[in-house]
């Protein structure tokens, strides 16, 4: 146990976490040069393209330091705010963390929030200044930022480059020398914490855990504290580049278990694993049942594909327990599912995976957060996951919506613009701290729903890309919300309804109408677009009737090309949704999110 080191990596997206991790694997011989794929830790295409790790992984390295063999367990953490709970469990499984900061970028908001998490768990922090090879590297300035932040000495900061291999040996030495060995009682009953799970189509769910006390042996009868479910440990082992089966996994080590579990939902991140024969007395602290934060309808483009969509979603759920869904129906879109996601990125990922892995083209409706409505009669609480579920305003005493605490780190030049944006988004400034002379951390509270509406894009615009953002939920607050309905050709389109703050309703209604006018093609008749609150029309636009769509010439040489063009036009129309008489393209259903494009 004294030669085991468990560590994770804290880094902002694009600060070179994956490249540096690859170097560690390469230098320790865990992966041969020949096997080395770029960013070996991210094995989903989607992750590689987005440059972020969606699902955390773990890998074990062997390293000889001063004549002694060490086992280094790297626990990879997801790099996005939507997955902050998973990050917190990964961190809880470690004794140390590499803090990787891009020498040309400096510290970002996400780095800070994860760093705070690591400090809460008393992790030893090894600061690394990455991308030293870049011409734009500012080692002194960024070192100062790191020193300010964690209170280390400037000489503790290791200059490194995942690209050239600079500093990799020093990082490995620091892992061995600085990170404490795990503590735990090898003779105590088994107590292991689940920090991740993956779905394997042949083997079912593979759960990853850190053994805190005792040991797990092949064939043990095990149970999960939280779900209460029991399984046989058919196979246990440690994680090399592939699964490496073992007879036992001992105190302090990181391992996996395969026990015939079929669904990701049965394995909850943060849950405690123990044996039925000699169970531990307490569960590992910090378990949370993660609740979805953002809800949206997902509908098949072709109504006939409903069953196939259900099948695809069930498959996705096998390896993504944070995805929840239940059937719903919409007058405009037919049968589909109301889905809950951890956040906006999670929603996008699910949508993309449906398209890539299952070849399902879907219509996603305007996302919303989960509201609480309190009825006049008995102040009974009603959960609202869909604007159409909102009880009649006359019967509602008040509505509450979820709020978040948000952190933005930016250059001082953009503070004014970002404050304006936050005020615009119903935010309240809490704090403003200068991290260095020109880097500012702004903290404010705002409704989560405002992030759903084009917040990221606008933040990026007003800060010219120089702002990083992180948030965590802080509970529900009372809000003056109204349901904004959209009517196409005088028919209300339920899939376009949204709950919005009363003060925004007129403005938003106008913008949505204008956006829809842009997105819905002219048709053979005039189409009024209206925004309404209850019976009151608050905005109106008109799509004029199609007047001209005809090819001038259609002679011998034009016929094939023309036919193909019209076939394409028809195929495109088939993908549209008929709402009353109006053909509505898919992107129109998300119009609300792109009001400032």
């Amino acid at each position: 146990m004294k030669n085991i080191r468990n560590f994770c990596i804290i880094a902002h997206i694009d600060h070179g976490k994956s490249t540096l991790a690859d170097r560690l694997l390469q230098t320790t011989g865990t992966i041969s040069d020949r096997e080395m794929q770029d960013q070996a830790l991210d094995d989903m295409d989607l992750e590689r393209e987005r440059g972020i790790t969606i699902k955390s992984h773990a890998i074990q390295m062997n390293y000889n330091h001063n004549g002694e063999d060490y086992v280094l367990n790297l626990i990879d953490t997801p790099g996005h705010v939507d997955f902050s709970y998973e990050v917190s469990r990964s961190i809880a499984a470690c004794e140390g963390a590499l803090l990787i900061v891009d020498a040309s970028q400096g510290i970002e908001a996400q780095t800070i929030s994860n760093l705070y998490l690591a400090l809460e768990h008393d992790l030893e922090i090894i600061p690394i200044l990455n991308k030293m090879d870049l011409p734009g590297a500012m080692p002194e300035e960024v070192t100062d930022q790191i020193v300010d932040l964690i209170g280390c000495n400037p000489e503790d900061v290791i200059p490194a480059s995942g690209k050239t291999g600079l500093g990799v040996d020093k990082v490995l030495d620091a892992i061995v020398e600085k990170i404490p060995a795990p503590k735990g009682d090898p003779d105590a009953p088994l107590q292991a914490m689940i920090f991740d799970s993956v779905f394997n189509p042949f083997r079912g769910i593979i759960a990853y855990y850190r053994v805190l006390n005792g040991s797990i042996k092949k064939g043990d009868r095990v149970k999960f504290f939280n779900t209460g479910k029991q399984y046989d440990a058919d196979e246990i082992g440690v994680l090399k580049m592939d699964l490496s089966p073992q007879k036992s996994v001992e105190t302090g080590d990181v391992g996996y278990i395969i026990s015939g579990i079929k669904q990701a939902a049965e394995v909850k991140v943060g849950d405690t694993l123990t044996t039925t024969a000699n169970p531990c007395a307490e569960a590992v602290k910090g378990f949370e049942d993660v609740k979805p934060m953002v809800f949206a309808g997902i509908y098949p483009v072709d109504t006939e594909d409903y069953e196939e969509l259900r099948y695809s979603m069930e498959k996705l759920q096998l390896n993504d327990a944070s995805l929840v869904f239940e059937p719903e129906s919409s007058a405009a879109l037919g049968f589909g599912f109301r889905c809950g996601f951890l956040g906006m990125l999670h929603m996008e990922i699910i949508q993309e995976r449906l398209e890539r892995e299952f070849n399902m083209t879907v219509i996603t409706t305007v996302p919303n957060v989960s509201y609480k409505a309190f009825l006049k009669k008995d102040e009974q609480e009603v959960q609202v996951h869909n604007p159409s579920e909102l009880p009649d305003p006359s019967k509602t005493e008040w509505i509450e919506e979820p709020f978040i605490k948000a952190q933005v780190i930016t250059k001082s030049d953009y503070v004014g613009a970002i404050m304006n944006l936050c005020i615009d988004k119903r935010g309240e400034l809490q704090n403003q701290v200068y991290l260095t002379q020109d880097r500012v951390e702004i903290t404010f509270e705002m409704p989560l729903s405002e992030i759903v509406f084009d917040f990221y894009d606008r933040l990026k615009t007003v800060s010219k890309g120089y702002a990083s953002f992180d948030y965590f939920p802080i509970g529900y607050k009372r809000s003056d919300l109204v349901k904004l309905d959209i009517l196409l050709n005088t028919e209300q389109v339920d899939a376009l309804s949204a709950l919005v703050h009363r003060s925004n309703a007129f403005d938003l209604g106008k913008k949505i109408c204008i956006k829809l006018k842009e997105l819905i093609p002219r048709q053979q008749f005039e189409i009024p677009i209206q925004a309404a609150i209850g019976a009151k029309i608050v905005a109106r636009e008109t799509i004029k009737a199609l007047r001209k769509d005809v090819t001038a010439k259609c002679y011998g040489g034009d016929i094939t090309r023309k036919r193909k063009l019209l076939e394409k036009q028809k195929a495109g129309k088939k993908r549209m949704r008929q709402v009353g008489r109006v053909e509505v393209p898919q992107e129109a259903f998300l119009a609300v999110l792109k009001l400032n494009d």
Partner: protein, 342 residues
């Protein structure tokens, strides 16, 4: 090039063994630019290798500035009996915008010269929907065209091709196109005026006095077979359509070395059905109900769409055929595409 064209005429003659030729058309570019001897050589090659059927329609597209007495007499002599004259507009500013070499005076004198040489069957092209075209200007253009007293007029709405200067100028706002509404107004005025003057609106872009419809173009629309020669030329025999490569140099080189110059597609039943709708609905003849009903694609879904279009007034049934009614011709693409089988 002319040698290559003559060679291709020989190569393709086996395709028209059984049938005789009813129309010949020199078009697609500026055939009036070719020396008259060469035009004659090509015509002779056709006469030698194909059987021709009288009355034969022989058309040549001409630029107004290429028409002089010598040329006009020569092509009459050779056997051309129909002239398509690319006048486009009687306003010099429009002609400049379109990079046309002729001016408005040449347009009128070309028609007079052609008539003097004995041509009766003359068609002229007019363009509308041009930038800065007011209704007054368009009316004046049509009046000028009527004054020329020709039996056939083709009129096209300006089409903006991508990657052209005009496209760029419109994108950047340097030039403004008339709205679709005013383009429609111009189309409606054109159609109403010409019909009043005794022309028949027999295809979306074509108007003819009785007996002067383009036999050649009508044969495309009646699904007859055709062979095209020269770079980019298209042919259709039965359910096979093929088209030549467009590069002049490659075209000549390949013909010299006896290599294949064309690509082809076999039209499926579905393609043929779609084309029948696409072409037929653009004409006064429409699409015969018999031809639709006998097709495997006459499904309930198709009938539903068809009935919807009839109920909404976009299509009508007349003489046992489906036709696009009135001003709806101006949105023919959408109507046709909606009926397509994909």
């Amino acid at each position: 090039m002319v040698g290559a064209i003559c060679q291709e005429l020989i190569n393709k003659s086996h395709l028209f063994q059984e049938v005789s030729i009813q129309t010949i058309y020199f078009g697609g570019g500026s055939p009036s630019f070719i020396q008259t001897e060469n035009l004659a050589r090509i015509l002779d090659q056709i006469r030698e290798n194909y059987s021709l059927e009288e009355p034969l329609e022989v058309t040549i597209e001409c630029n107004p500035d290429d028409i002089n007495q010598n040329f006009s007499d020569a092509i009459m002599e050779m056997g051309f009996n129909r002239i398509s004259l690319g006048i486009q507009s009687f306003f010099n500013e429009d002609l400049e915008l379109m990079n046309r070499a002729h001016d408005s005076d040449q347009a009128a004198s070309a028609v007079q010269q052609l008539k003097k040489s004995g041509f009766q069957n003359i068609t002229i092209d007019l363009i509308y929907g041009l930038p800065n075209t007011s209704m007054e200007k368009w009316k004046a253009n049509i009046q000028q065209a009527l004054n020329l007293d020709v039996p056939h007029i083709s009129s096209y709405c300006l089409t903006i091709e991508e990657k052209t200067l005009l496209h760029h100028q419109i994108e950047t706002g340097a030039i403004q196109l008339p709205t679709p509404e005013s383009q429609l107004e111009q189309f409606v005025f054109l159609s109403e005026t010409l019909v009043k003057e005794g022309y028949e609106h027999y295809e979306i872009s074509n108007f003819a006095k009785p007996g002067f419809e383009s036999k050649h173009n009508s044969s495309y629309w009646k699904n007859k077979d055709y062979i095209g020669v020269g770079p980019s030329a298209h042919s259709k025999i039965g359910n096979k359509r093929f088209w030549n490569i467009s590069n002049n140099y490659q075209y000549i080189k390949r013909l010299k070395t006896d290599l294949n110059v064309s690509e082809e597609e076999i039209l499926s039943e579905k393609d043929l059905f779609n084309e029948m709708l696409m072409i037929g609905l653009r004409t006064k003849w429409g699409v015969k109900l018999d031809n639709i009903r006998s097709s495997e694609f006459y499904t309930t879904e198709f009938q539903k769409e068809l009935n919807k279009k009839i109920e909404e007034g976009f299509l009508q049934i007349e003489d046992e055929a489906i036709k696009i009614s009135g001003v709806n011709k101006f949105i023919a693409d959408t109507i046709i595409s909606d009926l397509f089988i994909v």
